[in-house]
Symmetry: C2
Subunit: 252 residues, 2 copies
């Protein structure tokens, strides 16, 4: 049974302040918990229903993780999901290490993406398109927010991220590095020849790429519109741009 202190600790991780203080975050629901046990994340504690634990013992015991058996009601009380009939894991956050796009690699730069749901969706999209590195501005939503983790559908285990001053990062790149940025008035991505490596910058939900980052964008790109909608959601736009990038890469 969970102690009062354990409950308090787990509930504190709903908040960014305590996630940073303790260096830990929550992973909730059957699929996400299974994925995190198959990843290189270090797991502090597993809280699971008896049924989930029995079905997944082989997976969860590999890391010799301390396990607490709990009811569905307990899981929902200590966690953030409306319904969770499986498990919750307390997982160690990773070190904030700088990331550079390698040759033949695409990395994403997120400039002030505020909505956790959008960020989670972008992790999932990045994972689908084989993007392994995401550089986030300090103002971008916290990737360890339970909503981000949940929306990523397990993809948080296969994508790496770094938080920092993305304008400064971009200012230190060499001249030959391709930096694409999503704008409403750029080149048509259906005809633009994307290179095979570099960075794609996506901006804030309302205001797009900010003035500090904009000067470092070498190529402004736009998804052509055929109708009346003023814009696309930033997750949707990220997917369409990465799809065009991959599609062009395929053709060369």
């Amino acid at each position: 049974m969970l102690s009062r202190n354990q409950i308090k600790y787990i509930q504190s991780l709903h908040q960014k302040k305590y996630r940073q203080q303790h260096g830990a975050f929550l992973v909730e629901g059957a699929k996400s918990v299974q994925e995190v046990f198959q990843s290189d994340f270090q797991i502090e504690m597993l809280v699971a229903t008896e049924a989930f634990y029995k079905e997944n013992t082989r997976l969860t015991d590999r890391q010799r993780t301390p396990v607490e058996i709990a009811s569905v009601a307990d899981l929902e009380r200590i966690g953030t999901l409306e319904s969770n009939n499986a498990a919750l894991a307390v997982v160690r956050t990773k070190e904030n290490l700088p990331l550079l796009a390698g040759p033949d690699e695409i990395a994403l730069i997120l400039d002030d993406i505020r909505d956790p749901g959008n960020l989670g969706t972008i992790l999932r999209i990045a994972d689908w398109y084989g993007v392994r590195k995401i550089l986030c501005s300090e103002t971008t939503a916290d990737v360890y927010n339970p909503k981000v983790i949940s929306a990523s559908k397990g993809s948080f285990t296969r994508v790496n991220w770094w938080y920092g001053d993305v304008a400064q990062f971009l200012s230190q790149l060499g001249d030959g590095v391709a930096v694409y940025g999503a704008f409403l008035n750029g080149e048509d991505v259906h005809t633009l020849p994307f290179g095979t490596s570099g960075y794609l910058v996506m901006g804030n939900e309302s205001n797009g790429i900010g003035p500090a980052v904009e000067p470092f964008v070498i190529k402004r790109v736009t998804i052509p519109s055929y109708g009346g909608a003023e814009s696309l959601n930033v997750g949707i736009a990220t997917a369409v741009l990465l799809d065009n990038w991959r599609r062009t890469g395929n053709l060369t």
Copy 2:
């Protein structure tokens, strides 16, 4: 001031049953209300803050719509949005008329899309890509659900829809009509030559296209994956498929 009966009537429209009974639905927030006043929808009543009404009188008075001035607190109490400092309109639903894709036209078919947020996003994406007709299975979320209207960001005014038996609809199409469907094991959309007209079927969030509709799909299409994510959200997939369709159409 709103009467008790008006409040009761407006609040009843949160529910599908009463929207169907009264043939009316709610449009909330500044942008959506402005868009609906510029559309061919018939508007029963406008409830607005004094500031919104003053700024938009020219727009709202064209239809000679009855107007009630209300406070922000009132708007939030009668509507569904957490915050609404502008307006709410009660709008007449449209007749459920059958839709056929014309020559050089793409129409969407939604087979059991359950989530209102996804449906709203799909309306916005359809609008972006110039898709004007959406055929929905009876089990697809109600397009008049306030969450759908809100997520569509005004695009509900530029897209038409029909609800009915989509399998039966498809069974009555001629032999030469292109019916594409999104599956996880179809042809790669990066190399597939899309035609310039026809239907694109998108299936349920968890189970994809159902067994009643599947036999009528002539070409199974798939977005190629380059990473570890098992799937893409149905809204994201719709955008990427329509983008590929438009891109191919551009090239021919």
